[in-house]
């Protein structure tokens, strides 16, 4: 049973990265984009991938929790550290990534998409090209990639080597 769960855990991790690849590609490409229609195309790809990412993430998380009980890992430091790193990555990703995309959506299509925070005023008309270019420049794909890859490396190392 434990091995089956481990199989599910690894498989769902692969599936998660497969889907997450689309959002990573969109983040990098948006930084270079200057055309509103193309920006919209990227945001559609990003939304499509985000919609499906939750399924493998849920399987990954549930199988990990159950394995923690089966393997009696919950009193070990590595598992809590891995969860902490995972949460830190998630907060960083959603903290930098989500408002950026929501702000872009709102700038392109103010009728269909709300601003990312309640403090921000709702636009009555789509943003100008200059405004969109200004928003695009605020993206930090490299920072998110470094956070994601280093974090993934650390989590993987903790899970595979169980050092403490």
């Amino acid at each position: 049973m434990y091995t089956v769960l481990r199989f599910l855990h690894v498989f769902s991790a692969f599936a998660f990265f497969l889907i997450h690849g689309a959002t990573a590609a969109a983040m990098f490409a948006l930084k270079r984009e200057r055309d509103a229609k193309r920006v919209e195309g990227w945001l559609i790809i990003r939304d499509f991938a985000t919609k499906w990412m939750g399924i493998p993430l849920a399987i990954l998380f549930i199988s990990g929790i159950v394995m923690g009980f089966m393997g009696r890992w919950w009193n070990q430091t590595w598992i809590w550290l891995a969860i902490g790193v995972f949460l830190a990555i998630s907060f960083a990703m959603s903290g930098f990534g989500r408002p950026y995309h929501d702000r872009l959506w709102h700038a392109i299509d103010p009728q269909g998409h709300a601003p990312p925070t309640k403090k921000e005023k709702r636009r009555s008309s789509p943003a100008t090209t200059e405004e969109i270019v200004g928003l695009l420049a605020k993206g930090r794909p490299m920072l998110l990639t470094v956070i994601g890859i280093v974090g993934l490396g650390v989590i993987l190392w903790l899970m595979m080597f169980k050092p403490f």
């Binding site: 091995t3 481990r6 199989f7 690894v10 498989f11 991790a13 692969f14 599936a15 990265f17 497969l18 889907i19 997450h20 690849g21 689309a22 990573a24 590609a25 969109a26 990098f28 490409a29 270079r32 984009e33 055309d35 229609k37 193309r38 920006v39 919209e40 195309g41 990227w42 559609i44 790809i45 499509f48 991938a49 890859i149 993934l152 490396g153 993987l156 190392w157 595979m160 080597f161």
Partner: protein, 157 residues
């Protein structure tokens, strides 16, 4: 050393899927995203994916080969079965996926082509509809990955 290679093997597999995911999203998006502007965006995704996937793929294969020697797995059938399966998936994706993407890009960026119906009558048409579908690629890849992963983790024979 073996454990370190295993770590690198899994890490490169995850990186490979991250890049390959970009291609997978394009195969689905092509069906719904006509228009030259959006097609440009999809083409740029492909460039991103093709830039990174081969590096991760080479790291994955190399670590796998070295581990095969270190673990003395080359005499085991599970390793050859998984390699064979990977080859079959690779050929299928290449032979069917590439024409699908090429045709998809041509149709999506060409207004005249969008109005023409690409369907063929009879058995050939049905086969084309089945194999030239992003869900076919997604299922082939996912089921193939699951079997390869099962072979590597359980080493059943």
């Amino acid at each position: 050393m073996y454990e370190l290679l295993r770590f690198l093997h899994v890490l490169s597999a995850m990186a490979y899927f991250l890049f390959h995911g970009a291609v997978a999203s394009v195969t689905f998006a092509l069906r719904r995203e006509p228009g030259p502007k959006r097609i440009d965006a999809l083409s740029a995704v492909m460039v991103f994916a093709y830039a990174g996937a081969p590096i991760a793929g080479v790291a994955l294969v190399l670590t796998g080969i070295v581990m095969g020697f270190m673990g003395r797995w080359w005499g085991d059938r599970w390793l050859w079965t998984s390699l064979g399966l990977l080859l079959v998936i690779g050929i299928l994706m290449n032979r069917l996926g590439k024409p699908y993407l090429t045709e998809g890009f041509v149709r999506a960026s060409n207004r005249e082509a969008q109005t023409q119906t690409p369907t063929r009558a009879g058995f050939a048409g049905a086969m084309r509809k089945f194999f030239f579908h992003p869900m076919f690629f997604a299922l082939t890849g996912s089921v193939g990955l699951a079997v390869v992963l099962w072979l590597m983790m359980f080493k059943p024979f």
